[in-house]
Amino acid sequence: MIRGDAKILLEVRNLSAKVAGVAILKGVSLTVRAGEVHAIMGPNGSGKSTFAKALVGHPAYEITSGEATFEGRNLFELAAEERARAGLFLGFQYPVEIPGVANAQFLRLAYNTIQGARGGDELDPLEFDDFVREKMKLLDIAPSFLERSVNEGFSGGEKKRNEILQLALLEPKLAFLDETDSGLDIDALRIVAAGVNRLVTPANAIVLVTHYQRLLNYIVPDYVHVMDGGRIVKTGGKDLALELESRGYDWVAAEAAAA
């Protein structure tokens, strides 16, 4: 939903970043207002995931220039955990396994940490159990999720659902969902998309990082950005995604090179 007067959540200007000495982002600018759904598309290696990870504070990504503010605060002055508490979220493309830590325990710690930062009520294990089970029902997640170690031995689809469960629990103001559709079959995709749609409100925003148009049949974006060579080279509405589907990415790159 686009409203020109909606509050600006994220403002990125001319962001450049490198990983292991290699420049990946070469001047990305993006403005995200409350209530909006953005999709960032582009070929492999174009810098989509790097963009999301650099903004949430992954230690492997070094910001070389540019700026980013979140609700007016300089993001790069905040540690990764502070950005999360401020309301940023990343749904990982490849969620890491954490053996020995029960998912229920992890989810509750995350929930209470975020609640604490917002001045909300923290939940004891019993209260949290009721709360999380409700959320799990909506996402069609088996109760055994809670007892298992975080992501350990999860299938690709289960890992993605666990990310969306965290999204539902933490209710961030701005969520990056990195290739959340990959590894999901069509039924799972529908459930996950329904879960995401339910979480979109006028007060928050979502940035989908995706390779394929498929997910956008279920979550309709207000803006579609094409990333190539570490820059956003084209921005359009939801129809751009369909055009990309039929024509591929090469023409966008060619157009950008010509401009």
Partner: protein, 478 residues
């Protein structure tokens, strides 16, 4: 939450102070004269002096073991003080007469020496350098028929019991450090649980090394008669010195028919500084004998201290159907070295053993599990399950597993599982991206890793142990 944790983690070793107390100290060095001096100081009977001298003469013929996976400069056994005791002001009749400086020391350490202030349900024997300072709840225990006192008192008041069992599980010539201990041991705890008695409270010994360049050589003996049960806890600390101190203890456990002994240790000796200067050499022999049928001995240890740890709490499963258990968390950081594990010796039929070992290495430390599972020819249907997991924090540390398995009976079933994992940047970032601080993340991962062992600890100890792990990992990530 995070500020509290940070404070906790940034605390230096809390127990590193020295108590300025007048001590009665033997000259450095070891000889038959020193042994006679110790024996005389303690007014021991002749048979015990003989035991000591026999051990000493045997020790002279022995060589320091070179097989552990640890490195340290050669120990000069003539440069160690073998006896150091706080000088009593007068003969003590009650705790009120104990040197207040000494009481303050233990208060500072959080050790309950006053019964009225004590943790409900824990009796404590407090050992300072070479001697026992006090034992709480003696009367209540005596009413149940339980004897719990210092080894010196036991030699004086219950000589027959001590004579009957001392050296029966760890003989005087068992190994280099056990022989040394047998020659010069100064004090320790003695527990005796009579037939059919379930000890009404947890028994606990708290060890404190105070004098610089003194060794601590305590000897603990626990005997559980038929059908008896006891849970025993051991805690240790030492001041910070730049020199190394030697701790060579011997612990012997004897469980008769259907008796059960649960022995828990939370060890927090001074581990040396970040460059590896100072710290305790912990070379300890701990062994339990499941002598009777259906008896059970369970070792639980949380090893966080010591510059070097070298110990293998073991069970000899002699009685039919007896059970041995070993649960261990060994954490090493900075330059610490640990070579620790267990031995399960199955002799009787239907004996069972279980080994759960969790090694955590951080900094530039080295952590080895070394364990033996031996199934003798008569151990029909013996069972063993071993699980050895290692966790690495950072890339400068090392973890090794040395399992030895010897099976001489075809009906035996022996299982061994081992894993190695690493706390990586990606895992920590996953927590951080959900708002969780790195310290809380590490603590949650570590607690998950050690859970199977910590559930075996008595409650108060489990809390203390969890806190300790956090302290010890100060600055090892990020």
């Amino acid at each position: 939450m995070s500020a509290v944790l940070k404070n906790l983690i940034e605390q230096p070793y809390r127990h590193g102070f020295v108590t300025d107390i007048e001590a009665d100290t033997a000259p450095k060095g070891l000889s038959e004269d020193i042994i006679r001096f110790i024996s005389l100081k303690k007014s021991e009977p002749d048979w015990l002096l003989e035991f000591r001298l026999k051990a000493y003469r045997h020790w002279l013929t022995m060589k320091e073991p070179a097989w552990p996976n640890v490195k340290y400069p050669k120990i000069d056994f003539q440069d160690i003080i073998y006896y150091s005791a706080p000088k009593p002001k007068a003969k003590l009749a009650s705790l009120d007469e104990v040197d207040p400086e000494l009481l303050r020391t233990f208060e500072k350490l959080g050790v309950p020496v006053h019964e009225q202030k004590a943790l409900a349900g824990v009796a404590v024997d407090v050992i300072f350098d070479s001697v026992s300072v006090t034992t709480t709840y003696k009367k209540k225990l005596a009413d149940a028929g339980v004897i719990f006192c210092s080894m010196s008192e036991a030699v004086r008041d219950h000589p027959d019991l001590v004579k009957k069992y001392l050296g029966t599980v760890v003989p005087h010539g068992d190994n280099f450090y056990a022989a040394l201990n047998s020659a010069v041991f100064t004090d320790g705890s003695f527990c005796y649980i009579p037939k059919g008695v379930k000890c009404p409270m947890e028994l606990s010994t708290y060890f404190r090394i105070n004098t610089e360049s003194s060794g601590q050589f305590e000897r603990t003996l626990i005997v559980a008669e038929e059908g008896a049960y006891v849970s025993y806890l051991e805690g240790c600390t030492a001041p910070k010195f730049d020199t190394n101190q030697l701790h060579a203890a011997v612990v012997e456990l004897v469980a008769l028919d259907r008796a059960e002994i649960k022995y828990s240790t939370v060890q927090n000796w001074y581990a040396g500084d970040e460059e590896g200067r100072g710290g305790i050499y912990n070379f300890v022999t701990k062994r339990g004998l499941c002598k009777g049928a259906a008896s059970k001995i369970s070792w639980t240890q949380v090893e966080t201290g010591s510059a070097i740890t070298w110990k293998y709490p073991s069970c000899i499963l002699q009685g039919a159907g007896s059970v041995g258990e070993f649960y261990s968390v060994a954490l090493t950081n900075h330059r610490q070295q640990a070579d620790t594990g267990t031995k399960m010796i199955h002799i009787g039929p239907n004996t069972r053993s279980r080994i759960i070992s969790k090694g955590i290495s951080a900094g530039g430390s080295n952590n080895s599990y070394r364990g033996l599972v031996q199934i003798g020819p008569k151990a029909e249907n013996a069972r063993n399950y071993s699980q050895c997991d290692s966790m690495l924090i950072g890339s400068e540390c090392g973890a090794n597993t040395f399992p030895y398995i010897r099976v001489q009976n075809q009906t035996a079933k022996v299982e061994h599982e081992a894993t190695t994992s690493k706390i990586g940047e990606e895992q920590l970032f996953y927590f951080q991206s959900r708002g969780i601080e790195m310290e809380a993340a590490v603590s949650m991962i570590i607690n998950g890793f050690v859970k199977d062992v910590f559930t075996q600890l008595p409650m108060e100890f489990a809390v203390e142990a969890g806190r300790l792990l956090g302290l010890k990992l100060e600055g090892s990530v990020g």
